[in-house]
Subunit: 111 residues, 2 copies
DNA sequence: TTGACATATTCCTATATCGGAATATATTTA
DNA sequence: TAAATATATTCCGATATAGGAATATGTCAA
């Protein structure tokens, strides 16, 4: 078996740095493909292909405006990643606690 | 060019569902490989290979205990993913606002 | 030292990727 | 209708994967 398809879920789709860039740009405002081509500095077919992956997993939405296809980020699609990573939050909290404890111990020692 | 290596960063490493499961298990407590094999129900070589990927990107830490290798999640490695997804939070907030507004409008209409 | 146990590594193969180049499709304008 | 513009799709090739099978490495115990 090979690696899971990039279109299998948001985790796989977002693993590609260009696609993350695209999502960042399209989170600010909707944009036509051509603008992404310029902003990213990569070939138009590449952009279209990345957009297809993002569409397939529901991370972007499109509407047609004349001959322009206006893309925008669908932030809801990113939420599962956020929720998953968030489950590890308590472990960072522990670290902060430890740092705080160390700082207080230092304090007591008069350093 | 092919897809980026699974070991190129946390985003790629975490795209594999098994590896996410492993991280979840090792977030609770450190475990030897054999325990993961049982809990995941997959072959030992597969587990070892997934662990190698996770080690390479710094998502797990290991210590030896006799012939057992004790693995545990290094939550700090997940933080970049959390931070990235979090940048889209404001877009969900908008949605919540809209839902709240709709609810309030309904209220005013006496529904 | 030999065996038993725990884990890691290597070899294999089917599959999917990404970028590049070329081309197809769709829409507007002249 | 033809040309121009904007985007999508197809074909190509090099590459890396995940799992399975077999094997290597490392550690403890008798």
């Amino acid at each position: 078996m090979a690696r899971a398809a990039t279109t299998s879920d948001a985790f796989n789709a977002v693993a590609e740095p260009r696609r993350r860039e695209i999502l960042e740009l399209l989170a600010v405002t909707e944009l036509p493909v051509g603008d992404l081509v310029i902003k990213l500095g990569i070939e138009q077919p590449s952009v279209s292909k990345h957009l297809k992956v993002l569409r397939d997993v529901g991370l972007v939405r499109v509407r047609r405006n004349g001959r322009h296809m206006m893309y925008r980020t669908n932030a809801e699609g990113i939420r599962p990643l956020y929720e998953w990573t968030k489950t590890f939050e308590r472990l960072w909290a522990h670290q902060l606690l430890r740092i705080k404890e160390r700082a207080e111990a230092k304090e007591l020692r008069g350093e």
